[in-house]
């Protein structure tokens, strides 16, 4: 990649001497950045000075963690690279949770952090932290730029690494003296990454072997992870699944890759997945994994996972293959490219017996809750949200029961519609994620389905949403508890609810005090009209749904059990 700086294009002939800060801003713009998130501090003032009149929509969170989640969700919603900027020391440290969240879910991000002057590094200088040391395990790659001549190249490399292969966050640490140093930017600054190679195409013979196995299979299951969404391969996935006639189950992060309103959708699998998905996986003769990584929340007891299945694994990350589960037919490459190639080679198979069996499971064990209860069931709220938004909203979540109910009862149909912290399970993700998603998609309805305690963790970002007049909807499924923890304590610790209950604020009053719309809903009959009102609001709106305090998420595969050893099926059956 050869890129002349904008300045040099303007003043042909004269050498273009620029400061590091200006080079950073120019290179960001060259990389297509028009939105970023960040918080100022001593060592990044030179950079913020250059951002002052740059054509970049700059969002300031109230806490760097929030900014990092915003950039993450911005990336998840838009498919672009999310960019976050923080000062040295405390600012950089506050990014850690957000970076780890993005790393676990393979989200393309670039984080820039200020650093103390090069000659002070290692001296315990004011606001010094070993940022590259602290963030190394939670980034795909990180480095410090100690010489202004390396700046443009390093930033280009960061965007390339963040957005290709299996994406992830890349952090660049920027000492303040590099920001102010001057450099003639006329020379080339091409990427130099001899150790970074990605396989996209997929081995043709492996693809044919996979296609043959699929054509032969009587009881296949297609198991789809977030990688399909990352690879923008939703269309290719559906085309392939339909051509071969395959039932499709998705991981939490895979939701949205396949239309859940279709009969072939088995919805989510795993610990709180559907009984029909879990049974189908356990009984399939061929498991076709695409962009998924056999996480323990998905497989249950690994030794007995899909015991009769041959496994095809399509993934861009060779290290994902055979990491947890032995793979028979690995195909390394880009999901979009491979699914297209596979679709050409597969044939439609009726598989009537298999689909009949699946239909029977679907009929017998759908996700269910007590519709006749007098209290507000959290699942009812999610269902009502899905109904009134006609399945079209972008949904972000907290972590815990709220997240599982959102995954179970909102039916998604398009990629980038469901934004949730899957791998790390970061409470507090929901609200900043809604902000990032709304900024990426200003014309869509963005709903944060959150837990009371998750909301408590990052609720300060409500101010950010208000400042930017973002019409995000925050639906707190307020059960008073750290519900998911309480559920485990109920089931496995004799109902000793140790520290899983805290006093919550009055969310309605809180929202109003900050300048948002606030509502409280404590009657079941009021749910539909509250949702309707909420959807009309043009500013941030917080709705406190006082839901059944001790509702549980079913089914549940207890830790260490096989996928088909689900608890709660009896409870679900009694609800018919």
């Amino acid at each position: 990649m050869k890129t002349k700086s904008r300045a040099s294009a303007r003043t042909a002939g004269k050498p273009s001497i620029e400061t590091g800060a200006q080079i950073i801003v120019d290179t960001l713009i060259e990389q297509g950045v028009d939105t970023m998130f960040g918080y100022i501090g001593g060592v990044v003032i030179p950079l913020f000075d250059r951002l002052y009149d740059a054509p970049i929509n700059f969002i300031v969170p109230r806490h760097e963690q929030g900014g990092c989640h915003m950039a993450d969700a911005y990336a998840r919603a838009s498919g672009k690279v999310g960019v976050v900027l923080a000062t040295s020391g405390p600012g950089a440290c506050n990014l850690v949770t957000g970076l780890a969240t993005a790393m676990m879910d393979s989200v393309p991000m670039v984080a820039l952090t200020g650093q103390v002057r090069t000659e002070l590094i290692g001296n315990d200088a004011f606001q010094e932290a070993d940022t590259t040391g602290i963030t190394r395990p939670v980034t795909k790659y990180n480095c410090i730029v100690k010489d202004v001549k390396d700046l443009a190249r390093t930033i280009r490399e960061a965007f390339h690494i963040a957005s290709t292969g299996r994406p992830g966050p890349v952090l660049i640490d920027l000492p303040v003296d590099v920001e102010v140093a001057k450099f003639n930017t006329d020379g080339p600054a091409e990427m130099k990454l001899p150790g970074y190679r990605i396989r996209t195409k997929g081995h043709a013979r492996q693809i044919s072997t996979a296609a043959k196995a699929i054509n032969k299979s009587k009881q296949p299951v297609l198991y789809v992870g977030g990688g399909v969404i990352t690879a923008n391969a939703g269309k290719e996935l559906s085309a392939f699944a339909e051509k071969a006639h395959l039932p499709v189950t998705m991981t939490l992060l895979g939701l949205g890759s396949y239309d859940q309103r279709k009969a072939e959708s088995l919805d989510m699998l795993g610990m709180h997945g559907s009984a029909y998905a879990n049974y189908a996986v356990q009984q399939c003769d061929l498991l076709i994994a695409v962009g998924a990584r056999f996480d323990d929340r998905v497989t249950g007891k690994i030794e007995t996972f899909a015991p009769n299945a041959k496994v095809i694994h399509i993934d861009v990350d060779p290290a994902s293959i055979s990491k947890n589960v032995g793979v028979d037919i690995p195909v390394v490459g880009d999901a979009k490219v491979i699914l297209k190639a596979l679709a050409r080679e597969v044939e439609y198979q009726e598989r009537k017996k298999w689909f009949d069996k699946i239909a029977e499971w679907k009929k017998k064990f759908p996700f269910r809750y007590d519709q006749n209860s007098s209290t507000i069931k959290p699942q009812y709220v999610v269902e009502e949200l899905c109904r009134q938004t006609k399945n079209e909203a972008i949904v972000t979540t907290g972590v815990g029961q709220n997240q599982m109910w959102a995954a179970q009862f909102y039916r998604f149909f398009k990629p980038r519609q469901f934004i949730s912290s899957g791998g790390l399970g970061t409470m507090g993700f929901g609200l900043p994620a809604a902000i990032g998603a709304q900024i990426a998609k200003p014309n869509e309805t963005v709903i944060d389905i959150d837990g009371d305690h998750g909301f408590n963790m990052t609720m300060t970002e409500l101010s950010t949403a208000i400042e930017h007049k973002l019409p995000i909807k925050i639906c707190i499924l307020n059960n008073g508890y750290m519900g998911m923890v309480r559920q485990w304590q109920e089931l496995f610790y004799g109902r000793r609810y140790s520290k899983s209950y805290l006093k919550n604020p009055e969310y309605e009053a809180l929202a109003k005090a900050l300048g948002a719309v606030g509502m409280t809903v404590d009657k079941k009959a009021d749910v539909p009209k509250a949702v309707k009102q909420m959807l009309k609001e043009k500013q941030p709106c917080v709705v406190d749904f006082r839901v059944e305090p001790e509702e549980n998420v079913w089914p549940m595969v207890p830790a260490g059990k096989s996928l088909d050893e689900m608890s709660g099926l009896d409870i679900l059956e009694r609800l018919i």
Partner: protein, 174 residues
């Protein structure tokens, strides 16, 4: 099982931290790790001895290849290789034991690099088990201190045994 993995890495700051950090984070078991320059100033070679079964080793190889500044990963499984360790060892050597010790050193083709009133410092190189064997024979005399480099290795390009005939202690490798 011990395996030798060799990685060519970019010669720039932070690379060792990236590699060592990955090993620690993934709970891989390192026996030794050696870094040194190569004929190409832009590249260094890391030789890593890893403990684990085939499955662990496959993950090690893949995870290592994923580290951005790692340019190339080689695993010498099933190949004849030359593997060497270098050791400096100070053995207590009172005058009455010296000739005995010196003949041991001779047997192991060691080199005396320093000598004091009460000790000799010896340089020994060779495959790991030769080094271990030498340490064992030195133990009864008393080892004052010891430093080892860890294993470096290269695949043999020919099957031919290029070692001079007298290096009988070298036989254990390959």
């Amino acid at each position: 099982m011990k395996h030798i993995i060799s990685a060519l890495v970019e010669n720039k700051s932070g690379v060792l931290a990236h590699v060592a950090g990955m090993f620690a984070a993934r709970a891989f078991n390192i026996d030794s790790l050696v870094v040194g320059r190569t004929e190409d100033p832009a590249l260094s070679r890391m030789t890593i001895v890893v403990i684990g079964d085939d499955r662990v080793l496959e993950q090690v190889r893949k995870q290592l290849a994923k580290v951005v500044p790692v340019v190339k990963v080689q695993d010498f499984v099933g190949q004849p290789v030359v593997a060497r360790d270098l050791m400096l060892i100070a053995i207590s050597a009172p005058p009455e034991k010296r000739s005995e010790i010196l003949s041991l050193i001779e047997m192991f083709r060691g080199k005396v690099v320093d000598i004091g009133q009460k000790f000799v410092m010896v340089e020994v190189s060779g495959p790991e088990d030769k080094i271990e064997a030498f340490i064992n024979v030195c133990k009864p005399y008393g080892i004052k201190s010891l430093a080892r480099t860890g294993t470096i290795a290269m695949p043999r390009h020919s099957r031919a045994d290029m070692r001079p005939a007298q290096t009988s202690n070298d036989q254990a490798d390959a």
